[in-house]
């Protein structure tokens, strides 16, 4: 077997320019975790079914396990590590804590990224809209109740109510 030649990628992660070398078949979640040591992005399935690896790619919510790392060239990536402002938690993070909306916490980074994306697009979603928007973020611990309440509550904070 000839080793695949690595690809040089220049991209922007959480507002900062960054470069890495990846294998042609390597997916973005893997590159974030293993090349950039940003392990906040989790991998639960690697087939786009669980949402734990959710990141924003040029403003679109995606599963980073279904993006080739090489595709990140010239693009903008936002991960869970970039959600808080320094030591100030984002309202969605704060509300997840206040509502005890995480148990094991493995799905939480994906929920944070996806819920933020929802509330930025639809500042005042209904419970049903939150549930459908987050349908791709599997949580096996909570039964979703407290997560949905936390997201709705974060919405009120973000709207300044």
């Amino acid at each position: 077997m000839s080793n695949p030649k690595k690809i040089h990628v220049s991209t922007t992660v959480n507002g900062e320019p960054c470069e890495f070398l990846c294998e042609p078949g390597q997916v973005l979640s893997n590159a974030l975790r293993n090349n950039l040591d940003m392990t906040g992005t989790k991998e639960g399935c690697s087939t786009g079914d669980c949402g734990a690896c959710s990141v924003m790619l040029d403003g679109a919510l995606v599963c980073s396990c279904l993006v080739l790392a090489a595709e990140a060239e010239g693009r903008t990536i936002e991960t869970v590590e970039g959600v808080a402002d320094g030591n100030a938690l984002h309202p969605i993070q704060q509300k997840l804590l206040e509502h005890a909306a995480l148990q094991c916490g493995i799905c939480t980074p994906g929920i944070v990224v996806a819920a933020k994306s929802l509330l930025e697009r639809h500042p005042d979603p209904s419970e049903e809209e939150v549930r459908y928007y987050l349908a791709g973020n599997l949580c096996r611990c909570t039964g979703y109740d407290k997560i949905i309440r936390a997201v709705l509550d974060a919405g009120t904070v973000m709207r300044g109510e």
Binding site: E23, P24, G25, G48, G51, V62, L66, S117, G136
Partner: protein, 289 residues
């Protein structure tokens, strides 16, 4: 053999060049099928050609003639578009049903079509809307009706060096609308067990003057069911015509039994979906007229 090469051409000509003579290549649009298949060891391309930097594949043109949708435009871009959903609500719903919010950030109508899953959600909706495919190959461009594009599960009419560039949806006439419904065991995240798209035109009296019915996940490819449309045309979508359309769809269905459903169940449910989708399309026309 693992993936050895990744190319991201920025023009159709470059894309064609990259693909020329490479039977071991795969086109990457949103990757929501291809990368899963690679992960599960079902596909092993040596070269992946990312066509998202080719402008024609990423453009949306909405005009007098209708919609030209670049083959790789992500679902979320279409569902967020202010006008497309008004013209083709059923198609936009169908596209929006593919996977999660995350998948919507990447998946595309063209990819859904090229992947050629019998259960692809947006294919019946495209067929019901008389959509056509614009294909670029070494000998220039050709056009194929969506219902003729797929030739079986995981196979389509594209030659190895051809690219699906865009999909045309003709502008619907007055008092027209469409609807797509699918059945899945959960509310989200499943592959369709059966799907049905219905596009209708009604006259002022509410009589159906044109109809297209297409069904998915119940045959090797999505099927246009003229007999179901015929049952609707000329009537007022009354109980009798809905029954006949439903029966025609069940009759046309030629499904398999697999982990997602049985032959019997799929035949039955696809009829239920045709009836319900016709009702939704009709209600949409009535709501906007």
């Amino acid at each position: 053999m693992p993936l050895l090469q990744y190319e991201a051409p920025t023009s159709l000509a470059q894309a064609r060049q990259a693909l020329a003579g490479r039977s071991d290549a795969k086109i990457l649009a949103g990757g929501t099928d291809l990368l899963v298949q690679m992960r599960l060891g079902l596909r092993d391309p040596a070269l992946v050609v990312d066509i998202k930097h080719v402008p024609e594949l990423m453009e949306i043109t909405l005009g007098e003639q209708g919609l030209r949708l670049g083959a790789a435009v992500p679902g979320a871009v279409v569902t967020d578009h202010p006008e497309i959903g008004q013209l083709y609500p059923g198609f936009v719903e169908a596209l929006g049903l593919i996977g999660s919010s995350q998948i919507q950030g990447r998946c595309s109508a063209g990819g859904n079509l090229c992947n050629a899953s019998p259960a692809a959600d947006c294919v019946p909706a495209l067929i019901a809307n008389r959509a056509t495919c614009n294909i670029m190959g070494p000998d220039g461009e050709r056009t194929v009706a969506v219902e003729a594009f797929n030739t079986g599960p995981a196979s389509n009419c594209l030659a190895a060096d051809e690219i699906l560039v865009s999909i045309d949806l003709p502008r619907p006439g007055p008092r027209s609308s469409d609807a797509y419904l699918r059945f899945i065991p959960r509310t989200e995240m499943d592959i369709a067990v059966a799907g049905a798209a219905v596009a209708l035109s009604l006259d002022e009296a509410g009589v159906c003057i044109d109809a297209r019915v297409a069904i998915g996940a119940v045959a090797p490819t999505a099927l246009l069911v003229p007999a179901a449309a015929d049952a609707l045309i000329g009537g007022t979508l009354d109980e009798d015509s809905l029954n006949r359309a439903s029966a025609a769809a069940s009759e046309a269905a030629a499904p398999i039994t697999d982990k997602r459903g049985t032959v019997e169940y799929r035949k039955k449910v696809v009829g239920v979906l045709v009836r319900r989708a016709a009702g939704v399309a009709k209600a949409r026309i009535e709501a906007t007229s």
